[in-house]
Amino acid sequence: MTAYTATVTVRLKHGVLDPEAETTRHALERLGFDLAALRSADRFEIDLEADSSDEARERAGEMADRLLANPTIHDYDVEVDER
């Protein structure tokens, strides 16, 4: 078994309104920053033991499918690193 960190990043699908990101963008603009757009995402760092990075990736993907992401509005990706 090897120790891995699987990083799951959950984003809103393209075209889904993100009022929190919009509010954050406005706040940055009020501070004088110039930006074209801002997107927010949730990032989950999951430490786990697995036989291979593929297995770690698969298990993290299941976690995203079953809880971390809602397929109606979210896409996600998984990155796996040895810890």
């Binding site: 993100d18 509010t23 971390l68 109606t72 509005i73």
Partner: protein, 228 residues
């Protein structure tokens, strides 16, 4: 009291459970609050998923409660024809659990909104709306930060063509418009039916528009869905 006993499922963070109990009692519908870890009583003849902030709205509103074991029992009961009503947080739980389609997410305003709204009754031939006329306008309060109904365009079209949109936000005259849309919900959807028309969820609070002592009573008809 009738012979009907409706279970109001309480999660940590539910806060409209007692309101629902009081409102159902007022209508002569026997109801009891059930702690989610205790499971559904065998004699349950209806289920309310009440409003509140189950699990502190962590991750997404309703996400945790939707995956708690009692929801398996609620799904089984629903498949057996037991009426299930999700209100506000309960609506979010209903969508997260797959009892109903779509998702209720962050309001367009990015703010918590607590205000009376008008709803147009889209169908009057369901247990939840039999007390109303199709097209009738009712006034019920909302109180949510995550009530914007989101769903893919394809699924929304399917929901609409199969008559599973139950309520839409409208103005006092029943016109469904952007101006009357409090939270940015797609096509002003405020409440939908599940696979069975005995399953419904809505963001507005019918239990807060039932007791005459606290204001309007337009929500009574929705709760009467349990009386049949």
């Amino acid at each position: 009291m009738g012979t009907v006993t409706v279970s109001i499922v309480r999660f940590g963070g539910s806060n409209c459970d007692r309101d629902a109990e009081a409102a159902l009692s007022h209508l002569g519908i026997d109801a009891e609050i059930v702690w989610h870890e205790d499971g559904l009583p065998a004699e349950t003849t209806g289920v309310v998923l009440p409003g509140g902030f189950s699990y502190g709205d962590y991750l997404r509103a309703g996400a945790m409660a939707a995956r708690s074991p009692i929801l398996d029992e609620v799904r089984e009961a629903a498949a057996d024809g037991v009426p299930v009503l999700g209100v506000c947080n309960g609506a979010q739980v209903g969508c997260e659990s797959g009892l109903t389609e779509g998702v209720f997410t962050t309001n367009r305003s990015a703010r918590f909104q607590c205000e009376p709204v008008y709803l147009r009754v889209e169908r009057a031939d369901t247990p939840w709306t039999a007390a109303y006329e199709e097209g009738e306008v009712i006034e019920v309060p909302i109180a949510h930060g995550e009530g914007r109904y989101e769903i893919t365009d394809e699924r929304l079209e399917e929901l609409e063509s199969s008559g599973r949109v139950l309520f839409r936000y409208c103005d006092a005259d029943g016109e469904v418009s952007e101006a009357a849309n409090p939270n940015g919900s797609k096509h002003n959807v405020a409440g939908v039916l599940g696979e069975y028309e005995t399953v419904a969820v809505l963001m507005p609070h019918p239990e807060r528009a039932t007791l005459p002592d606290v204001g309007g009573t337009d929500g009574q008809g929705i709760l009467r869905g349990f009386a049949d």
